[in-house]
């Protein structure tokens, strides 16, 4: 495989050498620079929906998502400014206000990425009114459950099911604020014929929306370590086939 051209650019004043086919997020992580993310997960395709990883670029007012933006020679990227900090808190406020995230009764309390992001960005209150929608819990699957109240629509479950498991049981139904995760033809999860019950979706879910049945408050710990491994194997086969 032909490797892309090498370029140099800056993140937060630090000089960084990079290949053109590496995203700003990958490069920041390689160089120990923290950028918060939610919909991004290494090993899955990029989505660019949560907007938490937006960064500033010198010379323009526009913000760019680090997970889908590739650096160009001489670019100066800033990941940590008051503006970005405020906006990241705003995004989290929006997510908390959108559905019903009550940490104290959640299986993922203490192990939740959304909760963790609120802590790390210092989001300690929600200024916008809570929308409090009435949402269902799907407990029809023998092993797992889906609580729409805790879903942040990151679509990690949709992507892992399609890209890694190959079943594409999940997709998104509707649009805008009415969008939901859906199994097959809007069926109870337990009746979705395409589901292999592999549980990958549960492991990659950042919140308590997808959980293992029987887990009580704060008992759900997720392990997505299989993902970089599986996606690398998958990429290896595909390159050989070419």
């Amino acid at each position: 495989m032909k490797r892309a051209r090498v370029i140099t650019f800056k993140i937060d004043g630090q000089d960084i050498g990079a290949h053109e086919d590496e995203t700003i997020l990958e490069l920041a992580r390689q160089n120990g620079i923290y950028i918060p993310t939610l919909c991004f997960l290494e090993g899955l395709s990029q989505y660019g929906g949560c907007r938490l990883c937006v960064v500033e670029v010198k010379g323009t007012d526009r913000l760019f998502p680090a997970c889908t933006t590739y650096p160009i020679e001489g670019m100066e990227v800033f990941t940590d400014s008051d503006r970005l900090h405020g906006y990241r808190q705003d995004i989290l406020q929006f997510l908390f206000s959108e559905r019903n995230h009550v940490c104290s009764v959640c299986v993922s309390n203490g192990n939740c990425e959304l909760q963790g992001l609120a802590f790390s960005t210092g989001m300690d209150h929600v200024e916008v009114p809570y929308l409090n929608p009435q949402l269902d819990v799907d407990a029809s699957h023998p092993l797992f459950g889906l609580d729409h109240n805790r879903c942040v629509m990151c679509t990690r479950c949709v992507r892992v099911c399609d890209e890694i498991e190959g079943a594409h049981t999940w997709d998104v139904v509707g649009r805008g604020a009415d969008a939901r995760i859906v199994a097959d033809l809007n069926q109870p999860w337990g009746e979705a014929a395409s589901c292999t019950s592999c549980g990958k979706c549960v492991q990659v879910c950042p919140t308590g929306a997808l959980f293992r049945k029987g887990a009580s408050v704060a008992e759900m710990r997720k392990q997505a370590t299989f993902l970089p491994y599986l996606s690398q194997m998958r990429a290896g086969w595909q390159n050989e086939e070419k």
Partner: protein
């Protein structure tokens, strides 16, 4: 190499031929999904579970993706419409000229919301974002015929003829 099987239509209704033709013209590719759903809706009036399953297996597209696409686009209907339809335009020009009053009146008189059908299955109330007849705003489309320069009273009066036929 796994051999692809061609799915059989859900029934021997001859109209499935139109759906088949659309899919064949597009080489049964996944990209033909929206075109095919258009044909199903044109042919049968709405998209039911049976047809979604048939289209999904014919185009080798996951069921959830088919469902996701059919619910993303507002023109696709998953439920049959009433005998008559009334589409009130809520485009800007119509809004400025009072289409919201018109809509409220119809909603009140028939006790239905946009997207719903009266219990007797006579009238479906819908809204559209601009039908491009802004010159004669406010407008509504009654069973495919555009009626311009409406008032709330006129809009309801035009519906009354659908009451019991």
């Amino acid at each position: 190499m796994i051999k692809q099987k061609q799915a059989a239509p859900p029934s021997d209704d001859v109209r499935w031929r139109f759906v088949m033709a659309t899919m064949r013209r597009n080489g049964f590719r996944r990209s033909a999904l929206i075109e095919t759903l258009h044909t199903v809706q044109e042919t049968f009036g709405f998209l039911d579970e049976e047809s979604l399953r048939y289209v999904a297996s014919s185009l080798n597209t996951p069921l959830s993706q088919v469902y996701g696409v059919s619910t993303f686009y507002h023109l696709f209907k998953l439920k049959p419409a009433g005998k008559h339809t009334c589409v009130v335009c809520t485009g800007t020009a119509c809004y400025i000229k009072g289409s919201s009053n018109l809509l409220k009146q119809v909603e009140k008189d028939y006790d239905i919301k946009p997207g719903e059908t009266t219990p007797d299955n006579q009238i479906s109330l819908l809204t559209a974002r601009c039908v491009g007849a802004c010159g004669v705003a406010p407008v509504a489309i009654y069973d495919g015929t555009i009626q311009g320069e409406l008032t709330a009273d006129k809009a309801v009066a035009l519906l009354e003829r659908y009451q019991d036929d």
